[in-house]
Symmetry: C2
Subunit: 466 residues, 2 copies
C-alpha cells in the first residue's frame, strides 16, 4: 500500500456506505444489472466450493515460496514478473506486454542497532526505505523520545546531536505515516544525527515494519530506521525515568537507479475494445517476508479473474485490462509511468479496480470519482454478490494506492474491501507470508473480483464520472 | 511455565468450575469467610483505582527494563534476585533469605539457519534449551517434514541423514510439548542429524519460541531448534510439492553447571507461625524478551501482596511465605530444591498459590489437592472478589509449574487464572515484554492475590487435603 495518501472522500456516500441520495436507476439499467444474476452465480459457484476452489491459494503459495519477497531492483522481482507473463499467456489472455519503468533502487545492507546505555540490549530494526547509510562504524548518540511533531517543536533545543525516536500513539495508519516519511527530515532540521520511528501497527510480537521515508529538500539526510513497538515503548519508559538512553545504529544501504516492468494484459472487448475496466495490483514488495498480503494476493486474484473469464469463454463488451504495477512500495513509480504512457486512454476507463489492502474475506468495494448514479449502479451490482457476503459500498477514505494515479486523471476507482482488521499486523514485515492468508478467503476474493470486473466491463454504458 | 506437565484433574470439579457436589459448609465456617468481606474490600480498593493503582506496573517496568531477561547462569538473573531481596526488605517482611540451587546452565551461542535448497531464505530460529551444538561449520541436510510421531514412525526409513521438522497441527500447548521435548531424540533414533520444531503458539508474526528439549537416554544427542510457524509451513509446502528441501543449521551452545538462588520471604503468622500459605512465582526467564509474562508479572504481584499486607498492618494467623523460585525454565530445579530443603514443612502448608500463566485480568483460581470442602471454602472466598470479576474455581487441568513439586507432596495448590488467551503468543519469545501487560490488569491481579493469600492464611483452620 502507498506510504502516504491524501484523505479522499466521496461525498455522496456517508461513512457507513449508505447513499445520502436515493437510488432511482432507470428501470432498464436496473434490469440490465439484475440480468447478470445468472452469470454472477456461475462465477461465484466456480470458486465457492466449485472447481476453482483452492486454486488461487495454491498458485499464490507456489509463487510466494518460489520467489519470496520481490523488492524493486531484485532478481526475484524480475523473475516473478517473467513468470506472471507466462501465467497470463497460459490463461489465454489476448495480449500481455511488459512496459519498462525507471525507478530508484534502494537496497538494505547490514543493519545493526542496540541500546548501549543504560544497559546493552540488541534492538531489532528495519532501516526505512530510501534511508542513507550511517558513517562506517555507525552512530552512537543519546535518544530523544517524542510523541508528536508538536513535542519535537517544543523540545527543538534538545534535538541537536541526538537520535530522535518518534513514538506516536497509534490511532491508525494515515495519522502515523508522516512520522515515518517526514520525521527524519524534521528531526534533522534541529540537528538530529539519526531518527528512529515506532513501527506502523496496532499489534506487535516484536515485529519491525519496513516503509519509505521521504527526505525533504533543504535538510540534511540522516539515517532512519523503524523499531518495534516493544523497543519504542522501552526506550520511552527509560527516557521518562531520566535515564541517559544511548543507542548505537549502523546501516549500510545502497542507492542506485534501475528499470523494472509493469505488466499489462488484456481480454479485448467484444464491442468497445478501446474502452477499459482496469483490474490492478502490484508485483513488487518490501524485502522481508513473502509480500503476500502486500500484494501478491491482489496479483493472484486479478490473474484468477482473467483466467476464469477465459475459462468460461466470457468476453465482456469492453476490454478488461489487468495491470500489475511494479515499484509501488518505493513511491508508485510503476503507476506513474503507466498513466504517463496510457494517458490518452484514461478517459476511456470505465472503472479501475485495485486490490492492495489484503485479500481476506471480501465485503465490498470503495468508490471514488463517480456520481450518485455510479454509486447506485455499483450498489445494485453488489446485490448480486450478496451470496458471498460482499455487499458494501464505502467512500474511499484514503484507501487506494497505485490507483490514485488514475483517480487524479478522473478515473472512477474502487478498492477491494475485505475483513482486513489484521492487515497492519503483517504490513511490510517478515510475517507477510502465506500464513497470513486463507484459501477460502482467496477463493471468495477471486470470485468477487471476477464478477465485478466482468459485469462492469460488460455493461452497455461506461460508468458515469463524478 | 513448565515445559511438560501431567494432566491434573481435580475430579470434584467439573470442567466449567462448578461443584459436582453441593456446598454445605458449616455455618460458622461460611460466616467466618463472609466476615472477611470488609478487609477484602479494603484490599481491593487499595489497588482498584486506589493509592496502589499503577504501582505494580511501575515497579515491574523498572525491573524489566533494568534487568531484561534473566536466564539461569546469567549475571542479570543474580542481580535481579539481589534487587528483589532488597525490595522485600523495604516492603518490611519479617524474614527474607536466599537458598542456593544447583542447576545446569545452558547458554545460547551463535545461531544461524537458512533454507539453501530450492532457494536461499534465512530462517529465524531459536535453539532449544539444552540442545547440543552443531559441529563447527554447521549441518546441511535435506529436511523431512512430519506432522506427528505417527508419521515419523511410518516414514522411519526416510529419516537417516535428514533434519526432521516436526510441524504438528496446533491443538494446544500440552499436546504440542512432546514434539519439542522428545522429538529430537525420537528423530535421532532413526538417524536424523538435527531436528526443527514448529514454535509453540496459536499466533505468530514470524515469532520463534524458545523452550526446553529433553534428550532421552540411549539415543544420540542431535542439535534442535524452533522455527517460526511461517517457516514451518513454508518448508511443509515445499516438501509437499516434492522439492528437495535442504536446510543449513549452525548452533554453538555452551553447557555448564551453576548455582542460583530461590528467595524465601515470610510475614510470620501471629498464631500459627509454623503453618504456611505459599505465594509462588519464578525469577528466571528465557534469554529473549524481558520475561515479563513468564514470569516477572507473577513475581511482582507476589511482592505487591506482601508489601500491601505490611502496609495495611495485616498479619495473618499463619505465616505467609513468598517463594520466588529460580531455574524454572530449565526444569523446575528451584522448586525441586525448595521441596527437598523444606520437606518437613510441607504438611503444614495450607495452600500453595502460583502465578505463572500470565497476569492478565484475573478471573479466579484453579484448585488441586483439596477435597469438596476445600473447593467450597475457596468458592465462598471467591464471592468476596466478585467486585473485580475474579470468581471462578476450575480444576487444574495441567496448569501449574513449580507448584507441581509441592502438589506431589500433597499440598493443595491454586494457580492464578487470568484472561490469558494471548499467553502463548508471547511465551518464550522476544515479545514477552512490558508491552504484553497492562497496568490495570496488574492492579487487579495484585489485589486478588493479596486478598486470597491473606484470607486463606488467616482462616482459623488449614484447608482440608483431598
Amino acid at each position: 500500500m502507498n506510504p502516504a495518501l491524501p484523505l479522499l472522500l466521496s461525498v455522496m456516500l456517508s461513512k457507513n456506505g449508505t447513499a445520502t441520495e436515493r437510488c432511482d436507476l432507470p428501470s432498464t439499467l436496473a434490469e440490465e444489472i439484475d440480468g447478470y444474476g445468472p452469470v454472477v452465480r456461475r462465477i461465484l459457484s466456480a470458486f465457492d466450493y466449485g472447481p476453482q476452489s483452492g486454486t488461487t491459494y495454491h498458485a499464490l503459495a507456489e509463487f510466494a515460496d518460489h520467489f519470496g519477497h520481490r523488492q524493486v531492483g531484485s532478481e526475484s522481482l524480475e523473475a516473478a514478473i517473467d513468470e506472471l507473463v507466462v501465467a497470463l499467456r497460459v490463461a489465454g489472455v489476448d495480449r500481455v506486454e511488459t512496459e519498462p519503468v525507471e525507478t530508484p533502487v534502494w537496497q538494505r545492507g547490514r543493519e545493526l542497532a542496540a541500546l548501549v546505555e543504560p544497559r546493552h540490549v540488541p534492538l531489532d530494526v528495519l532501516g526505512l526505505g530510501g534511508s542513507v547509510a550511517t558513517p562506517p562504524g555507525g552512530i552512537t548518540a543519546p535518544v530523544l523520545v517524542v510523541r508528536s511533531f508538536e513535542e519535537l517543536e517544543r523540545r527543538s533545543t534538545e534535538v541537536n546531536g541526538t537520535i530522535v525516536l518518534y513514538n506516536p500513539e497509534w490511532t491508525g495508519y494515515l495519522p502515523y505515516v508522516p512520522y515515518r516519511t517526514k520525521g527524519p527530515s524534521y528531526a534533522a532540521r534541529y540537528g538530529a544525527v539519526a531518527a528512529l520511528v515506532r513501527s506502523a501497527t496496532p499489534a506487535s510480537l516484536y515485529t519491525p515494519h519496513a516503509g519509505m521515508l521521504k527526505y525533504m529538500p533543504g535538510y540534511p539526510k540522516i539515517p532512519a530506521a523503524a523499531v518495534t513497538v516493544e523497543d519504542a515503548d522501552m526506550l520511552t519508559r527509560l527516557a521518562k525515568r531520566g535515564s541517559n538512553v544511548v543507542v548505537h545504529l549502523e546501516m549500510s544501504n545502497n542507492h542506485t537507479q534501475g528499470v523494472s516492468r509493469n505488466i499489462v494484459a488484456d481480454i479485448t472487448g467484444s464491442v468497445f475494445p478501446e474502452q477499459y475496466v482496469i483490474v490492478g495490483a502490484h508485483t513488487d514488495s518490501w524485502d522481508v517476508g513473502q509480500g503476500v498480503v502486500d500484494d501478491a494476493g491482489g496479483v493472484f486474484i486479478g490473474l484468477a479473474a482473467m483466467a476464469q473469464l477465459r475459462r468460461m469463454r466470457l468476453r465482456p463488451r469492453r476490454t478488461l485490462r489487468l495491470v500489475l504495477w511494479t515499484a509501488e512500495e518505493n513511491g508508485l513509480h510503476g503507476a506513474a509511468e503507466f498513466v504517463r504512457r496510457h494517458r490518452d486512454e484514461m478517459d476511456a476507463v470505465s472503472l479501475a479496480l485495485e486490490s492492495d489492502i489484503g485479500t481476506f474475506a471480501p465485503i465490498g468495494l470503495t468508490m471514488s470519482g463517480g456520481d450518485n448514479t455510479t454509486a447506485c449502479i455499483l450498489r445494485r451490482l453488489l446485490t448480486l454478490t450478496a451470496p458471498i457476503g460482499a455487499t458494501r459500498l464505502e467512500p474511499a477514505d484514503g484507501r487506494g494506492s497505485d490507483v490514485t494515479k488514475l483517480q487524479e486523471l478522473g478515473v472512477p476507482a474502487s478498492v477491494l474491501l475485505t475483513r482486513n482488521e489484521r492487515y497492519f499486523h503483517y504490513h511490510h514485515t517478515r510475517a507477510d507470508t502465506m500464513s497470513a492468508v486463507s484459501s477460502r478467503d482467496l477463493d471468495l476474493c477471486a470470485a468477487f473480483w471476477t464478477a465485478v470486473a466482468y459485469v462492469v466491463a460488460d455493461l452497455r454504458d461506461m460508468l458515469p464520472r463524478g
